[in-house]
């Protein structure tokens, strides 16, 4: 809350930018410029506010005090309870991938081709990305709704008056839990995704199970898996941060909380895909 004057200024700027001048008073070109200008001012105000929010969250995470009970609770909610969703997503993705590769390739030497491409695709990209997207839906939304409701029902103000920093008590535990849990979930997604490919290959295409496993193990390197887990770490951070950020600044009753929830899911999903592209190009271009 200590950055409130700055962010309030940002909100004020943003708020003002939404006030349109009467149309008759400005020419069409000016209106267009004004619209573009408003968009960019609003955009940069948001970016600035988000940066301050992340800085404040970082401070809370580094300095403590740590609310271990809250962190534990969030690990269960974010990590443990997401296991079924991530496992199912990954299983079906691995299976579908195997089918595509089998019929897409010319079915020549396909035992090794299918197994290696499934393993690479899942560990490097699809496991972490689909896992991240599922959590953006499941976790970002839940966080935004919960914190947004706390905001509009003055529970966050109440926290502050009870001498408790909402960044330390509410936001840090969620960000810590999501950032820690996401790599673990991604690892689960890797294993189950590869297993999905294995099941389809051995059941539908009659592959030899031993050869399939052997070529997966032979081909897959530690870097394939670790690159996916590093991505997942980043995705976990994005998921919790977008949920908390949108919830924290929600206003305007139930409708505002609904808007915050939608924004959280949309922004988290887009940022995950963008961050994935960036990290793929960084990790694999060298």
């Amino acid at each position: 809350m200590s950055f409130s004057p700055a962010s309030e200024a940002a909100i004020t700027v943003f708020g003002l930018t939404n006030k349109r001048p009467p149309i008759g008073q400005t020419g069409k070109h000016l209106t267009a410029f004004a619209t573009i200008g408003r968009f960019f001012i609003g955009f940069f105000a948001q970016v600035g506010q988000l940066s301050l929010f992340i800085a404040e969250t970082g401070k809370a995470i580094v300095r403590g005090p740590f609310y271990f009970r809250m962190i534990g609770q969030q690990i269960i909610r974010i990590g443990y309870l997401s296991l079924p969703v991530v496992a199912l997503t990954s299983f079906f993705t691995g299976g579908a991938l195997a089918i595509q590769i089998y019929y897409g390739g010319n079915q020549f030497n396909s035992e090794t081709i299918v197994s290696t491409i499934v393993a690479l695709g899942i560990t490097r990209e699809l496991g972490p990305v689909f896992g991240g997207l599922m959590l953006a839906g499941r976790v970002s939304a839940a966080i935004a709704a919960e914190i947004g409701t706390m905001r509009v029902t003055e529970q966050i103000d109440a926290l502050t008056t009870l001498s408790t920093d909402p960044f330390k008590y509410l936001i840090a535990p969620r960000v810590i839990a999501a950032t820690l849990c996401m790599p673990v979930l991604a690892l689960v997604a890797d294993i189950i995704g590869v297993f999905g490919g294995f099941v389809v290959s051995t059941q539908s295409f009659g592959f030899n199970a031993a050869i399939y496993v052997q070529s997966t193990v032979n081909f897959l390197s530690f870097d394939d898996i670790s690159s996916g887990l590093i991505k997942a770490l980043m995705f976990g951070f994005i998921i919790a941060t977008m949920g908390c950020y949108n919830g924290y600044y929600s206003k305007g009753g139930a409708q505002g909380v609904g808007r915050a929830t939608t924004n959280a899911v949309v922004t988290a999903s887009i940022l995950i895909l963008a961050a994935n592209y960036l990290m793929t190009s960084l990790l694999f271009s060298a």
């Binding site: 809350m1 029902t153 529970q155 103000d157 502050t160 001498s163 008590y169």
Partner: protein, 263 residues
């Protein structure tokens, strides 16, 4: 008596909307001040400014003589520690059972063990006339009156020197209103606290006010003690006290529809 809270020329604006336009107000130590005013006149904004939840862009708010405007949260911990607040809608944490709500400070900031905190919760609930059978209920299952009382118990749990009540009786039946008014009166006497209460309920004013102030259009336009309130012929005050639609006060809804920006 020394001044416990002093507001001078406090201004607060949201976007282009001027909510507080130079509030001047003071509360003496141990005194009960009641601020009355119509809905949307900025009463809650004024309280939140004193609590440091909102930041006025102009003016001064002193607590025990210390300037608080412009202080960051971590610079005003000592000040915060002596204040308690009952929010307009209770603002109980709905993820926590009643006892963890009431003993929140004790658990989070004072290092109480769970057992001691629970005992403290029992004591605080007893102060507002509630029994220990409520301890493990969640706020969602409480009635409006219970909600307010648990909020009251949380606000006074740490024996604050200054307590704020934001519309403590709004939305309650007349009997519960009387109960809450008495509780506030008793708590204040028991704790020797300075209090600032917001209400638009005149029975509350008569029950708990040492002094009364009327907030209108972002300014305190009248203040005085109980005799002065009874004797006053201020037209604004009379209209409010008697609850008349006719008079000098512009009713908020009419203003909004005239401006064409109804919410």
């Amino acid at each position: 008596m020394s001044e416990k809270i002093t507001l001078s020329n406090v201004h607060k604006t949201f976007g282009t909307k001027k909510v507080l336009r130079g509030v001047n107000l003071s509360v003496d130590e141990g005194q009960s001040l009641v601020v009355i005013g119509g809905s949307g006149s900025g009463k809650s904004v004024m309280l939140k400014s004193i609590l440091g939840l909102l930041h006025p862009e102009q003016g001064s708010i002193k607590i025990d003589g210390t300037e608080t405007v412009g202080l960051a949260r971590n610079q005003r911990q000592e000040i915060d520690a002596q204040m308690g607040m009952l929010f307009q809608n209770g603002a109980l944490f709905d993820s926590l059972p009643v006892w963890r709500n009431v003993a929140f400070q004790a658990i989070q900031n004072q290092g109480f063990s769970e057992a001691d905190a629970r005992d403290q919760a029992v004591d605080s609930l007893a102060l507002v006339g509630l029994g220990p059978e409520l301890l493990d209920l969640y706020p969602a299952s409480l009635s409006g009156g219970m909600h307010k009382r648990v909020g009251l118990a949380r606000a006074i749990a740490c024996k604050p020197k200054i307590i704020f009540f934001d519309e403590p009786t709004t939305g309650l039946d007349p009997i519960m209103t009387d109960v809450i008014n008495h509780l506030i009166r008793d708590c204040v006497q028991e704790l020797g606290a300075t209090t600032l209460t917001i209400t638009h309920d005149m029975t509350s004013v008569r029950a708990i006010a040492d002094k009364t102030a009327l907030l209108y259009k972002g300014e305190i336009i009248w203040h005085g003690n109980a005799e002065e309130l009874a004797a006053s012929d201020d037209p604004f005050l009379l209209q409010f006290v008697n609850g008349l639609a006719e008079g000098p006060i512009e009713v908020e809804g009419q203003q909004i529809s005239a401006a064409g920006e109804g919410q």
